[in-house]
Symmetry: none
Subunit: 243 residues, 2 copies
């Protein structure tokens, strides 16, 4: 696939950024690496002249940035979302490095839109935010000083994406790729699953035993296909009718 085309399909999503300077730095970093789609979830200050100043020639990305209220809105229509996170979390998937994540994202770009999600400067991404993403990503920093600023993290990931896009590996180019489920379809399946296991008594909302996060983790990493979501939901409906 054309490398530039892959970069066009990747949204850089900044969730709840506090400092407009970091939004400008992210825009500049993205443009140096050939990315253009900036999404902002509930930014504290935007638009802002400090963002314009730090963007330094990449103000076109700020002008075309999409501002939304929730991370779900920013992920709508994507087929793969990656979450950049410094912390290991309970029940999370094993994190992949920035380089491996970039290679996988570029390979996925011919199937649809992708998202690369960065959290707030101080608090990072919440567990719920990471839970909405299928691929946790980490930048291998010095364990004694892992304090990357937001602009630097965006710079490193977008650089890896550009490197991966410019030399795409030769992978099954001739194989037809099954159509991936969209983010909304996967969320629809998880809601259906929660309803069915609540009805069956396996899930007790008053005593949840972390069941739904475990299911989210399990089905989140499978990269479900559109047809598979249909089969799984058909199966759930058959169990519900039988009950």
């Amino acid at each position: 696939m054309n490398g530039g085309f892959a970069l066009d399909r990747i949204r850089v999503v900044l969730s709840r950024p506090s400092h407009p300077g970091n939004i400008g730095a992210a825009a500049r970093a993205m443009k140096t690496m050939g990315l253009s789609q900036l999404w902002l979830v509930s930014p504290a200050c935007f638009p802002d002249p400090v963002a314009d100043a730090r963007a330094s020639g990449a103000t076109d990305l700020l002008e075309s940035a999409r501002v939304v209220d929730t991370l779900e809105e920013a992920l709508a229509g994507t087929v793969l979302a990656a979450a950049v996170t410094a912390r290991r979390r309970e029940l999370s998937l094993p994190r992949v490095t920035a380089r491996a994540a970039a290679a996988e994202m570029v390979q996925w770009a011919d199937r649809g839109e992708l998202a690369l999600v960065f959290g707030n400067e101080t608090s990072g991404l919440s567990n719920d935010e990471v839970g909405l993403c299928a691929m946790p990503v980490t930048i291998p920093t010095n364990p004694d000083f892992s304090s990357l600023n937001l602009g630097a993290a965006v710079q490193l990931l977008t650089y890896e994406l550009r490197m991966a896009a410019l030399e795409p590996p030769e992978v099954y180019a001739g194989d037809p790729q099954p159509q991936p489920a969209t983010h909304a379809e996967v969320e629809g399946f998880l809601a259906h699953l929660e309803q069915a296991v609540t009805e069956s008594g396996f899930h007790e909302p008053q005593n949840p035993r972390r069941l739904m996060p475990r299911f989210r983790r399990l089905f989140g990493r499978i990269r479900l296909e559109k047809e598979e979501v249909g089969i799984l939901r058909g199966m759930l409906s058959s169990f519900q009718r039988k009950a």
Copy 2:
């Protein structure tokens, strides 16, 4: 060679930096990637409180920085110097990419001290300065917008040095790996699934519609964990009891 040892031997040399904020950003970038030797050739303002603020926890690198008058002094005692340059120059050596340069530098580190040289924010490195270095290095940026700031360039090169020195595996080594299900456990789950969907009427063995091969393909690629097999089978049992 020990990766950390290689990083200890690499000097990051900023030649004639104009803005103290960039010196601070370079120090922070270096420390996140485990480098510690900062050399400054004729900085316009140093030390400076703006540098300290931008260093954000990496002020130890500013305190131990060596300040010299000429690039020759900063290169004294090194066995290999690389010059980061965005421009192609007449009569210069062919440029190598950041990734290839990092791999070569890490290999050279057991022979002695190394230097990685960055030029002034506006004018870059002079031809004379590049001429003092054996290896011109370029970062593959968007040809229409190659405006990396100095801190970002230091961040990308030091990241590549860390990656070359550590060669981490695809999955981040710091995460504990959950215990995978055995082949027999996965087969036991698939048999249980077939029984449950047959009972519910979703699967008709006389008219199988390739359902079980589809489930096998879906659950086969997920690399189920031991605990997850238990949860899925518990869910199936709850549906069977309800029916």
